[in-house]
Subunit: 317 residues, 2 copies
């Protein structure tokens, strides 16, 4: 199977009226600083606070009624779990989410708020995949990977579809990369519409598994790193997403934790919005790059806004 623009257009039809078409924000101060026109796709305003709802809903709404009744399961640092728990609620079924015990409390609480069941594990000591397999087996649930799933990728790709509807002449889009589902979906959508567009990934300097994998040509595995970008800490690129990203991405840009915090501060003070560390990494790469010389139109996905207040203030104040 190959992911195509048609899959993403079908996903857009499926989530219409259920996921929000989020706004694109702009800032004169930002344009002046970067030396380009920057368009921020604010998925912080998406249902469940992140773009993940698009993919989770698209993937689960595509299942048969019988499959849906088995319930869903996923391992998630939080945002996919929220999207999946809300999808389960909307579809009249249940979801079990395996989460790192140090995931933000806001994310854990939100999943429970949607009626989801949360199982916590130690991200640095326990084997996520084995635990996940056991949950799926014991509950006879359908596992919905946070990224390695064509329905999830297609749903995520609707982000780029909306961006190009509103700003058709974007020259590039910068996308946070973890498992690689958002970049795979958005690159497929965007290059399907506008072949010359450049899609760049953004990773934490200390969690650059996709950058290293693109360089070596094979999926490199890393120890789970300790970046503040809690949504970007997978051990290795997705099996299904990596070949797509290999084919489509122009490359990966990196940002340190300090640069991510600087971007979060800019978004708070200049734009009055709350973006979680993982969601601010694209802007972080841009703020710390040399000022652009030519007039470029750059799209950026602010992927989510689910961050605890104490954590936010600990990082920024």
């Amino acid at each position: 199977m190959e992911l195509t623009l048609d899959h993403i257009r079908n996903a857009a039809d499926r989530i219409r009226g259920i996921a929000y078409p989020t706004p694109i924000l702009t800032s004169e101060a930002l344009n002046n600083r970067v030396g380009a026109e920057v368009f921020l796709k604010a998925e912080i305003f998406q249902r469940a606070g992140a773009f993940k709802f698009r993919g989770a809903y698209n993937a689960t709404a595509s299942l048969t009624r019988e499959e849906q009744q088995q319930g869903f399961a996923a391992a998630s640092s939080g945002n996919h779990g929220q999207g999946l728990a809300l999808s389960a609620k909307l579809l009249g079924t249940n979801a079990t989410i395996l989460m790192p015990s140090n995931a933000p409390q806001a994310k854990i609480d939100a999943i429970k708020g949607y009626g989801g069941e949360v199982v916590l594990y130690d991200r640095y000591r326990e084997n996520r995949d084995a635990l996940q397999a056991e949950i799926t087996r014991s509950r006879n649930a359908i596992t919905i990977s946070a990224y390695d799933n064509f329905g999830v990728m297609a749903g995520a790709g609707t982000v780029a579809l909306e961006m190009l509807e509103e700003v058709p002449d974007l020259d590039e889009i910068i996308i946070p990369v973890s498992g690689g589902g958002l970049s795979a979906g958005c690159a497929t959508a965007a290059q399907g519409i506008r072949p010359q567009i450049e899609i760049w990934g953004a990773e934490p300097t200390l969690a650059n598994d996709t950058q290293r994998s693109l360089a070596s040509g094979v999926r490199e595995r890393q120890e789970i790193p300790k970046s503040i970008a809690d949504g970007l800490l997978v051990p290795t690129p997705g099996e299904l997403t990596f070949p797509i990203n290999q084919k489509r991405l122009a490359g990966i840009r990196l940002a340190t934790d300090e640069e991510i915090v600087e971007a979060m501060r800019f978004l708070f003070l200049q734009m009055k919005i709350v973006v979680e560390p993982s969601g601010a990494i694209g802007l972080a790469t841009l703020l710390n790059a040399p000022r652009r010389e030519r007039k470029t139109k750059i799209g950026l996905v602010l992927t989510g806004g689910n961050v605890d207040l104490p954590r936010f203030c600990e990082l920024l104040a």
Copy 2:
């Protein structure tokens, strides 16, 4: 002179393409909690971070070129000062802003960033009006009151014009009240279009000068109170605004500082936006009111988002 819907429509023409038409945000979680449909007019995204730019620009762009060249002056807790400094910059002239020395640093810095001159005074000890008169005299500047000015009121009223364009069947609008310019302008605009709409003011419990003045029928004066709502601390309602508010407001609702903080926390966690204390007071009155029984459409103005990060975290964390 009487403020009319025509003044506000003219102001809308004057600021078009210069002030932003800000978005209206909604939240299922909020609607469920309040028991009504709530529409949040996000003036936090306005230029200079607050609705005040609308009035400042409208008032100053209406002046003759000669008057503009004299420069502007105002006493302001910050947001009007920012709006006026930015207006001066756009009109190629200068502005001097008299500010309380305990105004948020973000507001002071922003005024200077627009090229404005800041003069600080002690809000609790010095006489603002005397200082202001001295600044105006020594600089031969044109004073632009933050509220007691028909051009400022008309510009502020464009907020309600935009709200009713987008949601024509609003039943009520809740508006933070300080000097009373925003409520006077918005009430005039809204009731000009939709006579039956109710306009409610919101004041800090400890700074309820307009509530007491409406009750007594005369402009009551208070000691400057110490609410966290730094934008709502005037000693008495405006001379020009009060008769309009007296005629048009359904009443005033109050919120404590603790309730304001709760509203700011809700806006951060649920809606991913940054609203300053004065801007969150309308929501604070709503979150703490009894749950509505009938289906009502309520508009709320989130007036500004200019708050320092350390202050924000001190209040909320």
